[in-house]
């Protein structure tokens, strides 16, 4: 069988493998780990730079990885991983690649016309794009089902966990959305993200909650919304719901406030998820779904939505969607 067999109960393995001393085994493992560390140093350095939150841990990691990646580059040891990453559609240091958009971003075909929005058919469906972070993905699955069930809406989804509008140095949502809009030519965009946004920015270095941070976050959200709304598209934005951790929830209030403000400035339909998921004004783990009590938030983190919670929020989005687009006969 394929599994590597474990040793027999009598200690020695069945096929007479050469026994190794603990010292030798430790040294081989240490050297192998070191070899991997040097050969992968450029990727690890990139990941530590863009993924790790600011702090002592990140600083320590970079203190170790900076000289190692220099060494790897000098010896050309980074090349195999670089080539592999490019072949895997990443940057050489393992970063994300984005869709290439021609300088003039005039759409190839029709983008949004009032006719399609008002009277979508199976032959000419309304094109909807769903975007979000991990909590947005909790909404995307049931929303995709509801939208598809109408028979007159085609849906594309794009989610990226651990991303948001604060650390655009890690994942560039602005560039990604520009490419998605060019490629998919959606009529409507529905977005939900913000769970990872209550942190300081790296480029430029701005402390979370400072005036400069607020201005930059508002600008980031505004830029995303202006791309979403361009060419006559409709855009809906779903707020991140109240969460169990009251301290963190207070931090999220700033994110919610700024997103709502940007949505208002860019005429994006803002859906307050708390109206559905926190009807009493505070976090609720259980809610009534279709006449039955159901667990709507994951107990392990008190943040994410269970399938029942996602379905409940999707219903609220569908109602807003139907109402705002004037699709009176929409059924799902």
């Amino acid at each position: 069988m394929s599994e590597v067999s474990t040793p027999t109960r009598h200690g020695r393995s069945r096929h007479g493998d050469a026994p190794t001393s603990a010292l030798r085994a430790g040294l081989v493992l240490l050297c192998a780990f070191g070899l991997w560390l040097v050969m992968d140093a450029t990727v690890l350095q990139h990941n530590a730079t863009v993924q790790a939150p600011l702090g002592a841990r990140r600083t320590a990691a970079l203190d170790i990885l900076d000289p190692l990646s220099e060494l790897a580059r000098a010896l050309g040891l980074d090349l195999p991983v670089g080539w592999s990453n490019v072949a895997l559609d990443r940057t050489a240091d393992g970063g994300f690649t984005y869709p290439t958009v021609p300088p003039t971003t005039k759409p190839v075909g029709p983008t949004t016309t009032t006719t399609i929005i008002r009277n979508p058919t199976r032959a000419h469906p309304l094109r909807v794009l769903l975007i979000g972070d991990s909590i947005g993905e909790d909404l995307d699955a049931p929303l995709l089902s509801d939208l598809t069930a109408t028979g007159i809406i085609s849906v594309n989804t794009f989610g990226k966990v651990s991303t948001g509008l604060t650390r655009l140095d890690y994942f560039q949502w602005i560039v990604e959305l520009t490419g998605l809009v060019y490629e998919d030519r959606p009529n409507v965009i529905i977005g939900m993200m913000g769970a990872n946004d209550s942190q300081s920015m790296l480029h430029p270095a701005l402390r979370y909650g400072s005036t400069a941070w607020r201005a930059k976050y508002l600008a980031n959200a505004g830029q995303l919304f202006s791309i979403g709304k361009a060419d006559g598209r409709k855009m809906f934005w779903v707020s991140v719901p109240a969460i169990q951790d009251t301290g963190l929830n207070k931090e999220w209030n700033l994110v919610r406030h700024l997103q709502q403000k940007a949505a208002s400035q860019h005429h994006v339909y803002y859906i307050d998820s708390d109206l559905t998921l926190a009807p009493n004004g505070h976090y609720a783990a259980y809610l009534n779904v279709g006449g039955q009590l159901a667990l709507v938030r994951t107990p392990s983190d008190g943040i994410h939505l269970t399938p029942a919670g996602g379905a409940l929020l999707a219903q609220a989005v569908m109602i807003a969607f139907k109402h705002d687009l004037g699709l009176r006969h929409l059924h799902w």
């Binding site: 069988m1 394929s2 599994e3 590597v4 067999s5 474990t6 040793p7 109960r9 200690g11 393995s13 069945r14 096929h15 007479g16 493998d17 050469a18 026994p19 190794t20 001393s21 603990a22 010292l23 030798r24 085994a25 430790g26 040294l27 081989v28 493992l29 050297c31 192998a32 780990f33 070899l35 991997w36 050969m39 992968d40 195999p80 991983v81 592999s84 990453n85 895997l88 994300f96 995307d140 699955a141 049931p142 995709l144 089902s145 598809t148 069930a149 966990v161 651990s162 783990a285 259980y286 039955q292 009590l293 667990l295 938030r297 107990p299 392990s300 008190g302 269970t306 399938p307 029942a308």
Partner: protein, 475 residues
């Protein structure tokens, strides 16, 4: 602390050095490993350590009480009370939400709403595994198969970090003797350990993640938006994902324990080569299967009674095995499906025995047919196992019949080849694998360094940016 993180690599490096330095000093070794294991567990949430300690105390009290009791009645009282305590902890953390929601809904129906407090206890990671080990320990002491361990031995046995989070479910008779004496520092099964760790990492980080991200999550999330072919491949893909995820985890756990000089029992043995459901359960999560057999199926009566009683015992064992995974109707359905399949197999064997017909048809085509059908049946079980709800499972099944003729962009050649390869590899004769491992063990140290370094590089390069957590962490 996940096995594939930097944090764990540093942690293990320190523990490894300390464990071998203290190897000859038995008590110091135990204290070191115990401290390391509690640190490992506290890395998720330090409060969970109290739960682990509580399970240890309950098991110790139970085992001690059983061993000093003068009469069978008192021994039995100790047994029942300690198992009740252990299962009570498990029940509260694992099943309370399910219980509360369903009782509340039932009571609302007759106008008695809000009768049950709606708490949301966080499920402590590993609780199912260490509870099962604690129960087996107490029962083994009761049966006279094991003498009560000292508190520190018991604490090390239950908390030993390689098996703590997701098994294998090691018995006291297997692990306790190994921690009571020094291990041979000159004779580590290094080639096997390192091969298990590397293969486990590759299975988990590359193959399982690939299946999850590219077919399983999108299709199970919204089956009605996908074609029948995509649904079919999502089900097969999940069969591959959960195998690579879980066997990958236990490969790493067994390998890590081997590096510390401790041997764990095997937990997987080419499960998708099984020719029947009974055969499948001899190859899949073997340590759970034997736990269910020895501590549930046999106490229920096993196959000692009539055919009907045996069928009842099989069904009960599989249903409870399903519910062990969590309080969800989908796990119940999974258990019922496996129970029904096994009962059918048992009835078939009984019928053939009575008629004097050969139990197995060993013709080549028959073997292929048996393996194919067993895999399809197991995959149907996985459909329920991974579905978020019964309606989600029905949507998946419905789509299998109604979604043909649509485009299937998620079914790529790479996906098909990967699924085929994972299943095909299970047919590779063990002798060939063992020979390769032995050859690696005989290689010079620099060759081993380069092979392991490049193997790790290959895994980290091919793995996606977002690696889902181990499936069995939530059980």
């Amino acid at each position: 602390m996940l096995f594939y993180t930097f944090d764990f690599a540093i942690f293990f490096g320190v523990v490894y050095a300390g464990a071998w330095l203290l190897n000859r000093r038995v008590v110091a070794w135990k204290l070191w490993v115990l401290a390391a294991s509690y640190y490992f567990y506290a890395y998720w949430d330090w409060r969970f350590c109290f739960l682990l300690a509580a399970s240890t105390v309950i098991s110790h009290l139970g085992a001690t009480g059983i061993s000093v009791a003068g009469t069978e009645r008192v021994r039995r009282i100790w047994l029942v009370s300690s198992i009740t305590g252990l299962l009570g902890l498990l029940g509260y953390f694992k099943y309370y939400s399910f219980f509360a929601v369903n009782v509340d809904n039932a009571l609302r129906g007759i106008g008695l709403g809000n009768a049950v407090p709606l708490l949301t206890p966080t499920l402590p990671i590993a609780i199912s595994f260490f509870t099962f080990m604690a129960v087996s320990y107490v029962v083994d002491v009761y049966r006279g198969q094991l003498k009560p361990a000292t508190p520190i031995d018991l604490a090390v046995y239950l908390s030993f970090f390689p098996h703590l989070v997701a098994g294998p479910i090691v018995r006291g008779t297997e692990l306790l003797p190994q921690i009571r004496r020094p291990r041979d520092a000159q004779s580590i099964d290094f080639s096997r350990a390192s091969t298990l760790i590397m293969s486990g990492l590759f299975k988990k980080l590359v193959i399982s993640s690939y299946m999850n991200n590219n077919i399983v999550t999108p299709v199970f999330g919204s089956p009605n938006a996908h074609s029948a072919l995509e649904v079919l491949f999502a089900v097969w893909g999940y069969a591959v994902e959960i195998y690579c995820d879980f066997s990958g985890y236990t490969d790493i756990a067994i390998g890590i324990a081997l590096l510390l000089g401790i041997k764990f029992p095997v937990n997987f043995d080419g499960p998708y080569t099984a020719r029947s459901l009974q055969d499948f359960w001899r190859r899949w999560h073997i340590t759970l299967s034997r736990w269910l057999r020895d501590y549930l199926y046999i106490p229920l009566g096993g196959n000692r009674g009539s055919t009907l009683l045996t069928a009842r015992n099989i069904m009960l064992t599989m249903v409870l095995g399903g519910l062990w995974h969590g309080a969800n109707w989908t796990f119940l359905a999974w258990g019922v499906l496996h129970g029904a399949g096994q009962v059918t197999g048992h009835l078939r064997r009984t019928y053939r025995e009575h008629r004097g017909i050969a139990l197995e048809n060993d013709a080549t085509f028959a073997k292929i047919r048996q393996r194919f059908l067993t895999f399809q049946y197991v995959s149907l079980g996985w459909l329920f196992f991974n579905a978020s709800s019964m309606s989600n499972a029905y949507s998946m099944i419905g789509r299998l019949f109604s979604g043909w003729g649509q485009s299937s962009p998620l079914v790529t050649p790479l996906l098909v080849v990967t699924i085929g390869a994972v299943i095909a590899v299970q047919y590779v004769p063990r002798r060939l694998v063992d020979n390769a491992v032995a050859a690696f063990g005989r290689a010079a140290a620099p060759v081993q360094v380069v092979a392991l370094g490049l193997g790790l590089l290959c895994t980290t390069t091919l793995m996606p940016a977002g690696v889902p957590s181990f499936i069995y962490y939530k059980f």
